[in-house]
Amino acid sequence: MSKNDIKVALIGNPNTGKTSLFNQLTGLNQKVGNYPGVTVDKKLGVSKLSSTQNAIITDLPGTYSINPTSIDESIVLKTLLKKNIKESPDVILVVADVENLKRNLLLFSQIKDLEIPTVLAINMVDQMNRKGITIDLSLLKKELNTEVVLISARKNEGIKDVKAAIIRCHVAAKASPLCGINNQIDPDYFTKLKEISPNYSLYELWLMVTQNNYPETVTKEEKEKLLAFKKDVSKLKKYQHKETIYRYQEINKILKKTYIVDKSKAKDLRGNLDRIFTHKIFGYVFFVFLLLAIFQSIFDWATLPMDLIDGTFAEISDFAKSNLPAGVFTDLLSEGIIPGIGGVLIFIPQIAILFLFIAILEETGYMSRVVFLMDKIMRRFGMNGKSVIPLISGTACAIPAIMATRTIASWKERLITILVTPFTTCSARLPVYAILISLIIPDIKIFGFLNLQGLVLLCLYALGFATAIIAAYILHKTLKIKTKSFFVVEMPNYKLPSVKNVFFEVVEKIKSFVLEAGKIILALSVILWFLASNGPTSFDNVEKNTIENTANQNFSKKELQQRIASIKLENSYIGILGKTIEPVIKPLGYDWKIGIALITSLAAREVFVGTLSTIYSVASGDENTATIKQKMASEINPDTGKKRFNFPVGMSLMVFYAFAMQCMATLAIVKRETKTWKWPLIQLFGMGLLAYIASFITYQILS
């Protein structure tokens, strides 16, 4: 990033192809950061405008207006009101949808009044012929007094023009308001407002008053004067309404001269598809089948690459062990680091497939129909049609899902959604379920096509959703929070998903998983290895004592080695920890080794599999060629002499994982989103208690 780079803020309504344009402008030169203080993702990218000029492009959240109604949208306002040179944008690039230009121009007119150089990119112009739209571009440029470019971001058309327009706009640095709100509403009032400070445009001052958002550069004296304008709230509200109507009048005047639609040409694809997807019976049937298909394919498609990754890492670990000189470093590498990396990479197939589906559903516009279908039902449970998106993306990971609740305007509906989202089966539970299912459920087909293992998995997902809904209902009836509920959702046009957008979305999700969750998982694997191969002073004598004690029992060298290894594990730090909690978890069917895995699962549920793998490979001494599944399958319960992972234990474990709040990262996010420790603690203990009781009942009935 150099000083000469042009800082461009990319703004637009949702569903205008803003992401497509961002991807076209920046390609793979993207990175995701956080806005200070909030966890909304900030996407930045570098775009080569010309051979000598680069631009840093910030992709702001989609919004219909500068006046925010959600946290996401307030980011836009905050970015635009910044006055310090470092962060304020040099040029604003507004993306508009050609089919809905009128509404898109409202946001444009607000931005124009901030008096920052602005480029308007009208997107999806390849649809103009089909929709019967004609635009007088040169007149529109003149009327809007700005650079206007026609583009088709998905087809990569007009991108060069956008780049050139950004440069021209930056050089000219010309910025004038479009609507001049003062004269039309209450000239005296707005003249007084403008007199407060010459450093800001009138519209900026107006936004500070109406949105109660003051940039750092505002002096104490100026702020006092601005606050005086806030006293008459009903007047503010009335003037905001008037302002919006006035803007639309101006836009209508301009469009009348420059924009013609021949309505007879519009084809009714939307209407036909809506009749199917929002049909009172077929709409729901389709939705349920879609979910079924998604879950079946996650299980079917992910198994092969997961087994491959699992097997490959077992081999690499074995290779390292047999080819490197024996010692602590080799042990760390082959028993800690390599299985740890494997434990991270193994989730990539599932996460990729799930986000592939979610990205496609969002891109096509189908997700909004689901919101429409589900709102009334969800409201009975104290939630909102928009809660469906967090609950579905919760099947990938509760963290982005809880962040996705920010679009819900009502606090009570949002809080309930946050509290119950961790019940949905996240991808971290999936490997736990997958490995347990493959151990205890036979791999057969019922009715000739339904995979029984897949069906059990589907039941677990259903259990998660059902619990979430029931918990929401209880919260709805017990929480006494009064909030005004407001709900409006745009129903976008149906579109074929763009391969490029879906690809970028999936890559971004995988990248953030590997970097964020992966770090924790890898670090824990190494810590675990240390705790499992070290112990208090008595630990060092295990080898000597065992050899002495068994001297007269004629063990083979191999048997002796295994015996030493497992006694060592029992006496290690982690063994002691597991033994301590064993009495508590014994009624659920677990031993101390599983207990260790339960403890480490607090970092992230998926660590369960890696932990058992580490424990069993330490326990089995040198013979380390088996995959995780083989190791678990051959584990014997010394009390019964039979397999440790039998049906009752497996079921009890799956029930425990379905209910327990075992993810520290999620707790941290809930704290951040609710701004108190109260709610995450309620989740931790409430869900933990439920998990314990439910697993207890499951195990006692089955065994």
């Binding site: 006046n67 309404h241 929002t278 009334k376 407001f486 745009e490 129903m491």
Partner: protein, 79 residues
């Protein structure tokens, strides 16, 4: 008194000027303006929310909001 909620599926109405104070700012900004033509496109299976088209915007709003917005069944003629 007619509101958006009293429209039938496929029927068209015109938002009355008196509604201005009752339309949430957000809806106003999305094109739900006094005088605008509003079509009830679809009603959700459980009679709520309503799917409307106004000023080129396709929006889903709840019945409680729709009940606040008065409409006329024929266009106001400005002289």
């Amino acid at each position: 008194m007619n509101t958006i909620a009293s429209l039938h599926k496929g029927e068209i109405g015109y938002i009355s000027e008196e509604s201005l104070g009752f339309i949430p700012l957000k809806l106003l900004e999305m094109g739900c303006l006094p005088g605008a033509e509003v079509e009830l496109v679809q009603i959700a299976p459980l009679k709520d929310p309503l799917y409307i088209c106004v000023n080129g915007s396709h929006l889903a709003i709840r019945k409680e909001t729709a009940l606040q917005i008065q409409i006329l069944k024929s266009e106001i003629v400005h002289v």
